[in-house]
C-alpha cells in the first residue's frame, strides 16, 4: 500500500509539473485585461485581436509553408539515409556518412545557425547566390537539421523489419526497385509519416536557426513571437499559445499513432 501511494504521488506531481504551465497559459489567454497578470474577466477579445493581426497571420503562413516543404525534403533524404545505413553494405567513407547524419542532432542550434549564415554569405561572395537571405535559406537550413531526426526513426524501423519478406519478394522475381516501392516503403510508411510530422514540428518551432538565416520577408512565427515576448508579456501571444499548443499536441498524438515502434 505504502509503495503504491508513493508511486501515484510521484506520477501525479510529475504530470502536474509538466502541465501546470500550459494550463496557466491557456487560462490567461481568456483574460479580458490588456495587462496580462491582472484578471478582469473571461473574454475572447485576444483571440479576435489575434486573428486580425496581419503580422502574426503572415508569419504563420510563412512558417507553415517552410515547415511543410522542409519536412518533405528532409523525409525523402532521411529515408534514403536510414535505408542506406541498414540495407546497403558499401557506403564510401561510412564513418563520415554516419558523422554527417548524426552530428546535427547534438550540435547546439546556435552553432548550426551561425555556420549556415556564414556559408550563405560566402556562397554569395563566390557565385552570387543567394543574393539575399529569406525563406529559401531558412528552408535549406531546416532540411539540413531535420534529416537526422527522420533518419533515426527510419533506421530504427528498418532494423527490426523482417528481411525475409524482402528476400521472398526477390525470389519471386521482383527486382530491387520493385521490392523497395512495393514492399519496403509501404510497410515502413507509418514511420515515414511519423518522421515527417516530427520534422514539420521541429521546423515550425525553430527560432535560433531561423533567426540566423532569415532575411527580408521571411519573419517566421517564432521570430515574431520572440520579438513580442522577449522583454515582456503579450495578451495576443497568450491566445496564440493556446491555439498552437492545442494544434501541436494533436500532431504529437498522430506521431505516436504512426510511430508503432513507440508502443513496443
Amino acid at each position: 500500500m505504502k509503495s503504491s501511494f508513493i508511486k501515484s504521488t510521484v506520477i501525479f506531481l510529475g504530470l502536474l509539473f509538466l502541465y501546470f504551465p500550459i494550463l496557466v497559459l491557456i487560462f490567461y489567454s481568456f483574460n479580458e485585461n490588456k495587462r496580462v497578470m491582472v484578471w478582469k474577466g473571461f473574454s475572447l477579445r485576444w483571440y479576435n485581436e489575434l486573428f486580425s493581426n496581419e503580422q502574426i497571420i503572415e508569419a504563420f503562413i510563412i512558417s507553415i509553408k517552410i515547415a511543410a516543404l522542409s519536412a518533405t525534403f528532409a523525409t525523402i533524404l532521411g529515408v534514403m539515409i536510414g535505408y542506406s545505413l541498414v540495407r546497403i553494405r558499401k557506403i564510401p567513407f561510412k564513418s563520415f556518412y554516419i558523422f554527417l547524419s548524426s552530428t546535427p542532432l547534438v550540435l547546439p542550434e546556435l552553432i548550426l545557425g551561425l555556420s549556415m549564415l556564414l556559408f550563405f554569405i560566402s556562397l554569395n561572395n563566390v557565385i552570387g547566390f543567394p543574393s539575399s537571405r529569406g525563406q529559401l535559406t531558412i528552408f535549406i537550413s531546416h532540411v539540413t537539421f531535420c534529416i537526422a531526426f527522420v533518419a533515426i526513426i527510419i533506421q530504427a524501423r528498418l532494423t527490426d523489419f523482417n528481411k525475409n519478406i524482402e528476400e521472398a519478394a526477390m525470389d519471386l522475381g521482383y527486382n530491387y526497385t520493385k521490392v523497395l516501392y512495393k514492399i519496403t516503403l509501404p510497410i515502413i510508411l507509418p514511420s515515414i509519416i511519423a518522421g515527417w510530422l516530427l520534422a514539420f514540428t521541429i521546423s515550425l518551432d525553430d527560432l535560433v536557426v531561423a533567426s540566423f538565416t532569415t532575411g527580408p520577408g521571411a519573419n517566421t512565427l517564432p521570430i515574431v513571437v520572440f520579438s513580442k515576448v522577449r522583454l515582456g508579456l503579450s495578451p495576443e501571444v497568450n491566445a496564440l499559445s493556446a491555439i498552437l499548443m492545442f494544434a501541436l499536441i494533436i500532431i504529437g498524438l498522430f506521431y505516436f499513432y504512426f510511430n508503432k515502434k513507440f508502443k513496443h
Partner: protein, 295 residues
C-alpha cells in the same frame, strides 16, 4: 547493374546535401575563425592572398583573444555549470518518474508515457514564455506564496539564474525521461523481487540493482540534456537577468552586436571541439566498456 545505380542514388543524394549544407558550413566556420579580422564587409581578410605571388594569411589571434579573456572563459564556465545543475535536477525528477512509469501495467504505461512526452511537442518558445507568466511579481507562484504566508511581499522570481534553471529543467525533462524509460523498460522487474528475497532492503536494492542497470539510460539522457543546454540561448534571454552571462549569449552578441565574425567563429568552433568531440570519444570508450561488461 541497375541495382548498383539505384543504391548509388540512395547513398549519394543525402551525402551530397549534407556535405554541401552541413560539412562545408562547418569548414567555413573554421576558416573564418583563423582569418585575420579587419574593418569592412566581410569583416575578415582572405586566408589565401595572391597579391605578390601566393601567401597564406592565417592567424590564431582569435583563439588567443577568446581564451585569454575572462569574459569569454567565464561565460563558458557559467554555461557548463548551468548545464550540470540542470542535468542533475532533470535526473532527480526524471528518474523516479521514468521508473514508476516503467513499472506500471502495460495499458497505463503507454498512456503515461504519451502524457509525459506530449508537452515536448508543444512549442518550446511558448513553454518558456509560460514560466515568464508564472514567475511574474504578481504571478501565480507569488500569489500562492503570499496566501500561504510564506513571504509577506512578492519575491523577485524572474530574471535570475534560478528562473533559467527552472525553465531549462521544465523544457528538457522529457529528453531525460525518454531514454531512462527506454532502459528501465527493458529490464526484468523480477530482479527487484529477487534482490528483496535475498534480503537486500530498498535502499540497497536501488543502489546495487536498479541504478547499475540504468547507467546507459542515465548517460544517454544526461547527454541529451547537457549538450544543448550549454549552447542554450532562448531560455537565459527570456528568463535570465544580467547576473550571469552564458556562452550562447556571448556568441550571439559577438556576431550580431560586435560584428566580430572571426571571434564568433572561433567561439563556435571551440564549442564544437569542447562539446561534440568528447561525445564521439565517449561513445567509443563506452561501447568498449559495455562490450567488456556485456551489458
Amino acid at each position: 547493374m541497375k541495382n548498383k545505380l539505384f543504391e548509388k542514388y540512395f547513398v549519394f543524394s543525402p551525402y551530397f546535401w549534407l556535405v554541401l549544407f552541413f560539412f562545408i558550413p562547418l569548414a567555413i566556420i573554421f576558416k573564418i575563425s583563423i582569418s585575420v579580422s579587419e574593418w569592412g564587409m566581410p569583416p575578415y581578410q582572405d586566408i589565401f592572398l595572391f597579391d605578390n605571388g601566393f601567401e597564406i594569411n592565417t592567424t590564431f589571434e582569435n583563439y588567443i583573444y577568446i581564451f585569454s579573456d575572462y569574459y569569454y572563459i567565464g561565460s563558458f564556465v557559467n554555461s557548463l555549470i548551468l548545464a550540470l545543475i540542470s542535468t542533475f535536477f532533470c535526473l532527480i525528477i526524471g528518474f523516479p518518474l521514468a521508473f514508476y512509469i516503467a513499472t506500471s501495467n502495460i495499458r497505463l504505461r503507454n498512456i503515461l508515457l504519451v502524457l509525459v512526452v506530449i508537452p515536448f511537442w508543444s512549442s518550446f518558445l511558448l513553454r518558456v514564455y509560460a514560466w515568464k507568466i508564472i514567475l511574474q511579481n504578481n504571478g501565480i507562484l507569488n500569489v500562492i506564496l503570499l496566501n500561504l504566508g510564506i513571504t509577506s511581499e512578492p519575491l523577485q522570481l524572474l530574471y535570475n539564474q534560478y528562473a533559467v534553471i527552472m525553465g531549462i529543467v521544465y523544457t528538457y525533462l522529457p529528453l531525460m525521461i525518454l531514454p531512462l524509460f527506454g532502459y528501465l523498460n527493458k529490464f526484468d522487474l523480477n530482479l527487484i523481487e529477487a534482490s528483496k528475497d535475498l534480503g537486500l532492503n530498498r535502499i540497497k536494492t536501488f543502489f546495487k540493482v536498479i541504478l547499475p542497470l540504468s547507467v546507459p539510460g542515465i548517460v544517454a539522457g544526461s547527454l541529451l540534456v547537457f549538450i544543448p543546454v550549454v549552447g542554450e540561448f532562448i531560455i537565459p534571454e527570456m528568463l535570465g537577468g544580467s547576473d550571469r552571462l552564458y556562452y550562447g549569449k556571448i556568441l550571439w552578441e559577438e556576431f550580431f552586436v560586435n560584428r566580430n565574425w572571426p571571434g564568433a567563429s572561433a567561439l563556435a568552433f571551440s564549442g564544437i571541439i569542447i562539446l561534440v568531440l568528447p561525445i564521439i570519444i565517449f561513445q567509443i570508450l563506452y561501447s568498449r566498456w559495455s562490450q567488456k561488461n556485456e551489458i
